[in-house]
Symmetry: C2
Subunit: 416 residues, 2 copies
Amino acid sequence: MNIQEYMQELGKQARTAAKVLARTQSSVKNKALEAIAQQLEQQHDQLLSANAKDLEAGQNLAAALRDRLALNDSRISSMIEGLRQMIALPDPVGEITDLKYQPSGIQVGKMRVPLGVVGIIYESRPNVTADAAGLCLKSGNATILRGGSEAIHSNQAIAQCIQTGLAEVGLPKSLIQVVETTDRAAVGELIRLSKYVDVIIPRGGKGLIDRNTQEANVPVIKHLDGICHTYIDDKADYDKAIAIAYNAKTQRYGTCNTMETLLIEETIAKKILPKLVEKYQEAGVEIRGCQLTYNLLPNIQLATDEDWDTEYLAAILSIKMVKNLDEAMEHIRLHSSQHTDAIITEDWSRARRFLNEVDSSSVMVNTSTRFADGFEYGLGAEIGISTDKFHARGPVGLEGLTSQKYIVLGDGQIRQ
Amino acid sequence: MNIQEYMQELGKQARTAAKVLARTQSSVKNKALEAIAQQLEQQHDQLLSANAKDLEAGQNLAAALRDRLALNDSRISSMIEGLRQMIALPDPVGEITDLKYQPSGIQVGKMRVPLGVVGIIYESRPNVTADAAGLCLKSGNATILRGGSEAIHSNQAIAQCIQTGLAEVGLPKSLIQVVETTDRAAVGELIRLSKYVDVIIPRGGKGLIDRNTQEANVPVIKHLDGICHTYIDDKADYDKAIAIAYNAKTQRYGTCNTMETLLIEETIAKKILPKLVEKYQEAGVEIRGCQLTYNLLPNIQLATDEDWDTEYLAAILSIKMVKNLDEAMEHIRLHSSQHTDAIITEDWSRARRFLNEVDSSSVMVNTSTRFADGFEYGLGAEIGISTDKFHARGPVGLEGLTSQKYIVLGDGQIRQ
């Protein structure tokens, strides 16, 4: 069978399985999650030995990539724990909201329903296989998973646990399918399988996501990068500003919600920056400042134009002084990736303007951009973060994997 | 300037104008709607004479197309009335919902925001120019309108009124732009202008929508066709069943929410169909039945396989007898366009199953499919009906032209 036929076949089976899942009760979905968790426990050693094969084949991979690829006791436990947490989350499917009588006498409301079939394309982390499969199952969607070729043995071992778990509770195995070929053409087919796939969620580097988005005819939930800003206004509280700006950069460097550029009003900069930059430098953060910042603190580097558009994902921070809120928001408009941007201020009207006017998926006042996360937002889980406006925006949890249909209840009403 | 540059330029201007509109107060948007309405009143004669040019140029058009193209006093009044109704609707932009404290102490909620720039592609009806422009303006979106080439003079005359109205209240004219060329290449450019356009809404025939969807790299809100079903269950109330099934077909023939296929349980068919079909035939509806229906009522036509997949948009109805609810839902799964499907039954469990399991944008119990409409649903207005699951589903009103961003309010919280 060629790749095209193979992917069509996966799609067809997923579509059929999705129909079964749409009418499956919450309790059965939860039993399946538990059965998969138990399989992962029982197959612990097999998972490690499958992963060892991948690691051996990937000896030439970069260290960071090898780290993401590696499974160990704690990563397997956290996959299992993640599935059990999903059991505790409320089932989004079937929720009815806004049910109201209309003048004609009909009652109109919305019922939450699964999207149908979700395609997940990801890179080296094998734990995504279990996480994504679990979230899709809980939200009533069939899933086609396409992991990185470097993780193929690990992913197939996890897939085996998933399939066995599904079968144990009498659900079709084709609900959650892992693409078994490492041929890259499979990705090209998957993103154009609009007949069978309702949405694609790519998880990985910008290159992967950009490529998938350009070529897809299936809708894509994506975030390309996280160039997040914090603006310290001259009405900011001194201590809060330092604590938040420090946290937003240093709490973790490699995450998409980490601040990459600090904007600061000129007059308060002289008071705050010397102490703040000292703290950053103690933590090993390299500072690249605009000319004014450089004039104030000559022991930093001078930023280039490119810095304002760079997601460092590293212990590097660019700092720019601005005249006022308008200049800060203009910088954000030009350089933000519309992921997460924050203002630090005690000024009511400026906080309101920032909240209203900044066009990012998360807009914050007096807190750290590091909070932009499905768990911190109370979603219970997160399958990705969308910087698009269409469909879901910001952290995407179970609700983002669903849609709403209208339901209309009558008692014989006809239209006049 | 070539078409590509021209469309890029429109897109760029729309994007800039959208930024202005996003921070424009409700009262100003409402004043703009009123100013446009007054312009349409004042330019009444100019609108008619521009329309006369289109009608003269379109003498060879089919009668139905000429009818859609024609403006008259009542159609101009209804454009004006439509704009004034929008003034009365609540502004969706800025609405904050679900604002809740999280364990960390941050407050997380969602704020409704405009999508940005909306591209509308439509066919001959010039009134869409005013309706769509008004809805997009009210929901805070800039709009690029591309009407049918046969309506170019009418659309430009309406555009003139819109631009004057915008200017009167100090809003940029580029908020609502009408494409001034009739070159079809402009459509091809518009649907691939993802840099500047956030969503495309095609309004028109299936061919137009299909083409746009295949080629677009901008998300599309679309509905392709309306093959709507009504299933009369054997537990249906006799009088309600007849009244609803009659209304769903005959209240209007040319609309997408008109029933095209009647499904009926075999045992109740013998009781209901003779009277119901007689009523249809008195109204001039041609009946095409399955073999069993034909056996019961030989004065009808025998349906072909093709009938089950046809949107007649005419005084034709196909009727099929089924054994039970499962067979009815299976027929709907195979043949429905997922627009609107209804069940007539007094049986609680079957009604619940139908509501849960039928995967259409509107699912109804004991009422007429003709109610699937933004006004009847209380949305106040409608820019289209989406049969997709992604983003909006069912009738799309002001809310469907918006998205939600997360807002996070803190008081110095940092992430641990």
